[in-house]
Amino acid sequence: MGVQGIQAVSNVVSGQPLQPSSTVSGQGPSFADFLGQALDKVNQISQNADQLAQSYATGGQVTAAQLMIAEQQASLAVDTVVQVNNRVQQMYSTMMNMQV
């Protein structure tokens, strides 16, 4: 397999040049909706871990591996939420300190 030259960014992203934001506003879910759905998903993953932990503690049909994987998934989800929170705050302070 030969090494290919570096391609333009517009070819990498589905072959279309990046659109300015004014042309895509008003269509698709808003960022708030997207964030809300993501938080719901995190909650769901956390509840799944709760369920598996309860089932394991009460002698249910849950293996140790299943429990550990669910716990790690939940921990990763919480870590991601914390990181998103940090980046949003960072973005806010960056914009507030911007010289205009």
Binding site: Q54, S55, A57, T58, G60, V82
Partner: protein, 132 residues
């Protein structure tokens, strides 16, 4: 009872089981000694599986299945039970050393898994609180 309390109770149970099994091994040669065990998970399974019988003219009471909701966990405490049913030796002792060793190893694995689980949960809470 919430999930954390349930996990603590399970850890207490595993700890109690360790002592009971060690006691069984120590008394493997004691005449007329009957082996003991800790009943905990079986109570849960009975409480979860036995649907309450509906009386005539009543609706069925829904089975309190575990669904991640803390209010559905039945209140069960671990209790030490004496095993009178298994096969008895000539000296009236029913401890099987190999079986007790297996139980001990299994209980240790279970204890470690529970400790790891509690550790993960506390670490997750810490992450959510400290935000880093």
């Amino acid at each position: 009872m919430n999930t954390m309390q349930l996990l603590q109770l399970s850890l207490d149970t595993a700890s109690m089981r360790q002592q009971v099994y060690a006691n069984n091994i120590a008394n493997a040669e004691t005449p007329n000694y009957k082996r003991q065990d800790v009943a905990f998970e079986t109570y849960f399974q009975q409480a979860l599986e036995n649907a309450p019988q509906a009386k005539p003219g009543e609706y069925h009471i829904p089975i309190p299945a575990l669904n991640g909701n803390s209010s559905t966990i039945p209140d069960v405490q671990p209790t030490i039970v004496t095993d009178e049913t298994s096969k008895v030796d000539n000296n009236g002792n029913n401890v099987d050393l190999t079986s007790e060793m297996t139980n001990l190893a299994e209980n240790q694995v279970r204890y470690n898994v529970l400790v790891q689980d509690v550790t993960d949960r506390l670490q997750r809470l810490r992450t959510a609180i400290q935000g880093s």
